[in-house]
Amino acid sequence: MGKKVIVIDDSKTIREMVRFALERAGYCIVEAIDGQDGLDKLKTVPDLAMAIVDVNMPNMSGIEMLEALKKDAIAPKVPAIMLTTEGAAALIQRAKDAGARGWMVKPFKPDLLVAAVGKLAGAP
């Protein structure tokens, strides 16, 4: 079984596009529908190797989620790539400060996403 990647996005369309790209490359996918759901799963699902995270979501944004994870001393530290429509330098810096390792602007190129996950999480 391949490494587990969690996709956190309120759009089912995006979750499925990411799932399609990464499953084809050999990764296993876990889905979360917003930042709060993502936070819960990052704390409870074992052996997550990577998180793909939207920024603007209901209940809790992706950056707020990373900031909450960073404050939690016992939460596992999982490398995260933000996948968003946003491109503002200030937001990118805030995500970086919260621990994000990458930033992709939608619509994403599947091959580029797979390459980034491979670089940050390792081969499946």
């Binding site: 759009s11 369309t13 499925e16 399609f20 429509t85 491109g87 200030a90 992709m104 940050l120």
Partner: protein, 215 residues
């Protein structure tokens, strides 16, 4: 439930009932005449949205052309609509996207895959379409030194829709011919009088669609 929350739901309920009663074809000409672009800034905003819409449709793999608004009329039949709000220090408003199911099926990212696309998938894509379109608009604004915060999109199905603005906002309505079907994009925008657009910043100051940055 608190009185404030109670009032919110009552207002929402009235809004939904009002929408349910609406049954007139979309008439963008009327809307445009009521609130014409007032100045260079507003015209620039609307031009940026128009460019963003064409870029968005092109990225979805469809050929599209903008039609003159007063020739437009959304056909009867079930439409999907999505709405997404935005706010900033000197600019706020709402983007609305309306089109027949076929447009969103044709532009869906999974259109060329073997997996079936459900009605829920199409409705979800209608919302994501608005989200990505407003993201493109925001990124163009950022190059002109204007920042906005985006909300999250909401969508509806409806048999017939009437698009109207009573808010006093400027309204931009454009209709795109997407391979023989009409897609309507509307932007309600309120801009402070002091809003100015900076000179176009060079690419690289913001991340663009499809970009990957390793941090």
């Amino acid at each position: 439930m608190t009185p404030a929350a109670d009032g919110f739901w009552q207002t929402l309920d009235e809004g939904i009932r009002s929408m349910a009663r609406a049954r007139i074809d979309i008439a963008p000409t009327d809307v445009c005449e009521k609130h014409p672009p007032s100045n260079e800034v507003t015209s620039s905003l609307f031009a940026m949205l128009g460019e963003s819409a064409l870029d968005m449709l092109q990225s979805c793999g469809v050929s599209a052309a903008r039609r003159v608004a007063d020739e437009a009329k959304i056909a009867d039949g079930t439409c999907l609509a999505s709405f997404i709000g935005f706010t900033g220090a000197r600019l706020r408003g709402c983007l609305t996207v309306v089109g027949p199911r076929a447009v969103f099926l044709r532009t869906h990212p999974s259109r060329d895959m073997e997996t079936p696309i459900s009605e829920a998938d199409i409705a979800d894509w209608c919302c994501e379409f608005a989200n990505q379109l407003l993201g493109r608009f925001k990124n163009k604004l950022l190059r002109r030194l204007v920042d906005i915060d985006l909300s999250t999109p909401r969508g509806i199905h409806a048999d017939r829709l009437r698009l109207e603005s009573n808010s006093g906002a400027m309204v931009f309505v454009a209709v795109y011919d997407v391979e023989g079907r009409e897609l309507l994009i509307s932007l309600d925008v309120t801009a402070d009088e002091g809003l100015t657009l900076g000179d176009c910043a060079p690419e690289g100051d913001t991340a663009d669609e499809g970009d990957l940055l390793l941090l």
